[in-house]
Symmetry: D3
Subunit: 328 residues, 6 copies
């Protein structure tokens, strides 16, 4: 792991470290002197940086989203910490570990993707099988599918998180369909594999997890609707009503208008899938909150996604209960 991380910087310290360039601009002081202003970051946070002299060649080489090596001093300016840069250059690929800049799944992405292909192959309905297989094996999509996080902050917010979430949902889909004979497993699997495919374009996650402009303006539901509809239209003979059903599964999966679903689930598979998706996301959010070391032995970090803390159950259950007399 690189040192120091942004979160570890102390005032009046001289450092040599690697950072990701979030923003770059040339600015002028009030007196008209030009300088280079960067926003630098790593997985622990971001900091402003300024370079006052001989920044021209650095400025030419470096762009947003590049990884750079810097030599700098930590200072305070207008009451905020900043780096005063002495040297800065592009990092060499072998010098840096992307994991220092973006969190990543601990699972084996190759294996997860193989499972995805297997689930797609298990779909019985030929139209749906062709649709799902076609989409996930499109080379451009596959590459991003293996890498995408499931969200920016809410749940599975790390590289590979989307695939983890989808594989978990496919497993749930199989179980639920076995439990409720009235549910069609093919529709549930289709929903699981396609419901977040729009996130491949809604989010950008090359160097940092964020939203694309299109993602902000349209959102993943609308984006995947277009991707999936086009894929359907390219399959000759795909039944028109089945297309409507697939589209409905996508647009209703948030379950409520206020969560951005323009339609409520009106098919049982859509209703059930909404619950599975919500359950898996919320459990992942709880898992993340519990993974933070808070210093509080019995409570997790506060989860913004869930609006509460979670109890560390094992800890609580092994706490010896107070004798009643201690309580009163």
């Amino acid at each position: 792991m690189k040192t120091p991380l942004v979160a570890d910087l102390n005032s009046e310290q001289s450092i040599t470290s690697f950072f990701l360039v979030h923003e770059k601009e040339i600015r002028n002081t009030r007196e008209g002197k030009a300088y280079l202003r960067l926003e630098l970051g790593d997985r622990s946070g971001t900091i402003e940086a300024r370079m006052w002299d001989q920044f021209e060649s650095a400025a030419k080489d470096i762009s947003r989203d590049d990884l750079v090596k810097v030599q700098a001093r930590v200072e305070i300016y207008r009451n905020r910490p900043q780096l005063s840069l002495q040297q800065v250059r592009l990092a060499k690929p072998e010098e840096v570990d992307l994991a220092d800049f973006l969190p990543q799944t601990k699972a084996d992405v190759g294996k997860l993707y193989a499972q995805l292909v297997e689930y797609a192959g298990s779909i019985g309905n030929p139209w749906l099988k062709k649709l799902v297989t076609g989409i996930i094996s499109d080379p451009g999509i596959a590459a991003r599918y293996k890498r995408a996080p499931a969200a920016k902050v809410m749940h599975h917010a790390y590289l590979g998180g989307l695939l983890e979430h989808v594989i978990s949902l496919c497993g749930l889909a199989k179980q639920i369909a076995a439990h409720y004979p009235e549910l069609d497993v093919d529709l549930l699997l289709t929903a699981a594999m396609l419901h977040d495919v729009g996130k491949l374009e809604e989010l950008c996650f090359e160097r940092a997890i964020g939203y694309t402009v299109e993602g902000q303006l349209l959102g993943h539901i609308v984006m995947e609707l277009e991707t999936v509809s086009k894929a359907i239209d390219a399959i000759e003979g795909f039944p028109s009503n089945l297309k409507t059903v697939v589209q409905h599964l996508l647009i209703s999966h948030h379950g409520q208008y206020e969560f951005g679903s323009p339609k409520l689930p009106m098919i049982r598979e859509a209703l059930a899938f909404h619950y599975l998706d919500d359950l898996d996301s919320k459990l992942a959010a709880a898992r993340a909150a519990l993974a933070v070391d808070t210093g509080e032995p019995e409570w997790s970090a506060y989860s913004g996604a869930l609006g509460r803390k979670f109890l560390r159950l094992d800890q609580f259950l092994k706490t010896p209960a107070l004798a009643p007399t201690d309580r009163k």
Copy 2:
């Protein structure tokens, strides 16, 4: 106008009249005797009808959404009025006037459509002009555009209502763009002409205004998104970011998540268009409520769309004010 209308039927009356078939089924009495059950209607309402004898050939000829001529007796059964049918046959086209079965705009649809074409022609941006012109002059779309209502019940709920609403919005768009130089008139006009194009498929309005199954499952925003996106993709060279902007205008026009917009307006034209659309719809709803003769001299009918009654302003202003002494 046909007589009698459903709303005018009296108990124990014998009638000959024309109706639209809303539902048709063969049922069995508890004793196992088959009979024909129809749901018949006209613009004033609906009534159940039963035919007990010799209904076989009628049942074969007649389908849902047909117009029929009936001879019947008005009776009461299980406390609800019904028609006991003596004869029923398909109406001949020349015997009926569709206006008896569905309310219609009083405006000249041909003229409105010509105005629509003119507005489309006035768009300066060549890509948007090509897009809008292409869609509204598609023969299948044009025919439905001239006929569609703007809604089932909320506003402009009559044949031709959609076109009336859109033409009004185009006029407003021109005015608003003149008033606020920061607004792009081409985007406003595009929004006006395309924002409800999905209603052509969300609603069915051949014989009665209702929702199609696809309309229920997807809604007009999602349906027009597909129509418009395809039309864009068919125009070679259409700028990709402009496509995103057009899509955003469509999906944000309801203005709030809880009204089924999966995104809030994030472009000024989208914000302004949302207000214009809402204003025109709500004024139309007020107009409709005021058009009902309620017997109350000073108040309109209750508007479900608006959740209130409206004051008949002219009436109120000419009421001589009570002298203060009368009031106290």
Copy 3:
């Protein structure tokens, strides 16, 4: 099945049938003449009944919630249908089938209960096993558990419905715990078997499904909290913190304050159980809405519990799609 049902009564008909007494009172006409007024019902609805002469001995014998045999005439009074009673007497047990008066599960209740006992036996944690087994095998509770509906109207609203719902949840609990290793299956099973035990006292379901006064004032969450807490206190050595966890599972299972949960789930098992409970209830509500023959081939009855209709998917998927030309 008894005939006629209330829903089948026609005006000016003379009938002989069996009904459940919902209300009984002696009233006086304006002229001071006493008469007997009953509210009678069966599984299809209710109707008012009046007996004008020689009702004294009948009035003495009959009480609310009795089943009676009547001879009567169907009349209209003050614009509402009523029965004018000629004779009325207590029905003999062998004359009536309770199923005519209350809907019932089609499952074999004995088998379901055996499964419940088996699930309880599968709990590994000795304290929880002792708690759950003790409660469900209490003779008074077991008898009611086999008979109780899960709700008055929302879902599983028929005799045996509660047991069906619980068995389904136990199956889901096993699956989910296998899927998420972080979840404790014993807590999930405990929640499944005890979370609605308060409904045994919140609802009354001897002759009709309704609420007890205690049920109205306290609700099943509070009622079962007392039942379960007492059962825990009766087990010597039950760990105090485990008691808190069980209580939390009960009071948080509605998942939101506005659904009457005084606490949000703060343990992962509580969160997951809330989703399972909601999923099973809502799917049951959808199933019930789809079971109603609505005359609409593609849509279920409107489900008040869900605020929407459901699509009959099989029907819709086999409808031949309209050719595009038919649509435009």
Copy 4:
């Protein structure tokens, strides 16, 4: 423009500049030594200031809302920047430009006011014309009308902002009335010119934009209701029902209860005016958010009034779209 502005202060700098006194008090240190504490500000922000020695005469001369000239040193105390004052005295009127202390419209206020008078003169209804003309030409009101902002933070939050907003609304009113023949232009103009007249007293804006105590307790709707009602009562013969209508226009212009309108619009002019007012305010808020240089090339500053950022459309449309291969 004065230098430096508060926003430009750097640590350990010695300055001479002009500020507005927001607060003034004499305090004691823990050791009992008295000192002068001021809150100083200009259009860019505020800063605390302390004067430790020989502050007595300064303290006597200076009051809240005075403009002062100071000589001081910028320091950090308990982790917050502050000014350590060496000298402070009242500024002479000729030394300061009020524009340095409060933001101002770029429009020509005299011209705007002339337009206002012209719009009032264009009202056809003699009662309304007399009412509006009388109010806006009252010398006390006119002076404040020319200077008032339209809000403290939400929109048009600068001197002259109210007049800008009103003139924009008058223009919209004319257009809308031309578009919808059912709307009375006189009522719309009256609403435009009087609907925020209460802000002249709700806000104080001599030296800083804030709320008066009366403004906090009553709000501009209630305050203008009194101003306008009194003006009406002073016009002999003003029709009583027309008074009610004008009052209704004022109290319903926020459109919803939760925005402080005690009545929903029940007259079409009130409904339409509410939309115009909301549109003009929200577009102004978007304009303000877009005017902030955020460093993000494609997004405006976050607008608290609108709860979102806005897209810089021109910027986005000229961005060359990524080739699909870059995206995947």
Copy 5:
């Protein structure tokens, strides 16, 4: 009491009785024959009436809100009961008792008003005492104050109800001020006596309780604000800030924006008064719901104002509890 009341009408009955005219119009049958249509009512309900022949002189004499004597036959038309009028004439004052047409308080209005005057006299602050005394002793106001209901349906919805409500609030005000020394009793009493004075004009209650047009458009808060402000302005020297406080008490008494208060209480007396007003209104609504004989021994009628039924506590507490064995 007059007989029969509307609620007691039976089909095919001939009656002679007195009614209040709610609506009157001349209509034409489809064949063009004119007839008189009235809406008649008494305290128990309303019924439609038609007069087919020789109605001309009656139609000329009779107006809305008149009391009439009719001879008529009770019939059913289009499934709704109606009166077929044979004769109708204005009732003579001595023939009718207004109490048959509008519900009335059981308290002695003269005594209540005397208490009101006494409470006003007990105010210590001379300005408030002068204000309140002046308003309640204005002859026009006093006459209406003695007669007004407190609401159309929510609570105290009978003649004299407002006075009952106000006297109760004055008593509470005295107690609360004694309990909390920080509260000013004079302000609480002023609020109690003036907070609903706008209802004298918001409601009309000569012959039936309803809303005036002004009441609908402005509401009682706005109406009393004008009445009270004028009364204050007529008192020379009334302190300006005290006027603001009184106005704030009036406009904040509904406590929440969504109940039509344009400001939240920001003075402790305003906060406390809001609770007292709400408490007294809600207890009155509960009292009214419990006063209805529902046939259910343990539950009140459903209170629309409260959204629930109330328990008949005395009844419930004397019910012998079921033995536990009966319950299980």
Copy 6:
């Protein structure tokens, strides 16, 4: 009073003072060197503290919630103030005054408790009297009842606050029952004395006011329900329906589902008690906000519990009103 308080610490100061230990842990620097980290506090706030050398024996002696004496230096680390500890040891009881660490009522707790006993003794209903007396005189409960705050932050958030709140409610209960003869004073008093008894276990307030884990998971309503139900069950012959009524009073006292009441008040005493409880809590919150010296002469501190500031009425009323000419 101890000096200095946390709120008075200045950078680079050496201090000797007493603090409460909120957290204690041994941590390692990046280089692997162990150090002691404490979170220390008093009634004015909290601060982090680190001890780098010879902390072992201190670390062994000291636990969370201990009071300690420290010698330390105030420093800034990573931009936050901290204490660098030179010495730390357990404080001797005689060295510290608990009042320095937790805010306390100014009332005489002994007297308040005597009043509580007296109110309990005044209950007429023998069952309720026995119940309430039994609970409040249980030695374990009594000790905590005298010490408990009524909340962590919302109202009466200081030691003894709960008792103050309850005594105030008992007084209100007596008054309200005298005012409304329909209300049973015994039920109101019972509600007052028992409705927050769960707070004795929901909150911990030995050294700081916080929530117990049980309090977080169950809440005071559920906790007191168990306490009170057990107390009832221990009274032989306590009427079963009266138990239900008492339980209903407890669980409905928050008045709304969203405030954590699983049932709405359905008994008049429960409705009235909810208003009294809310009134007393909100007035206490207003009192607390007004007690803060804000520097603003006319406004209180912002009250989070109430979502607003309060007017300092006395201050405002004595402000000389501006002459109208100053305003315009």
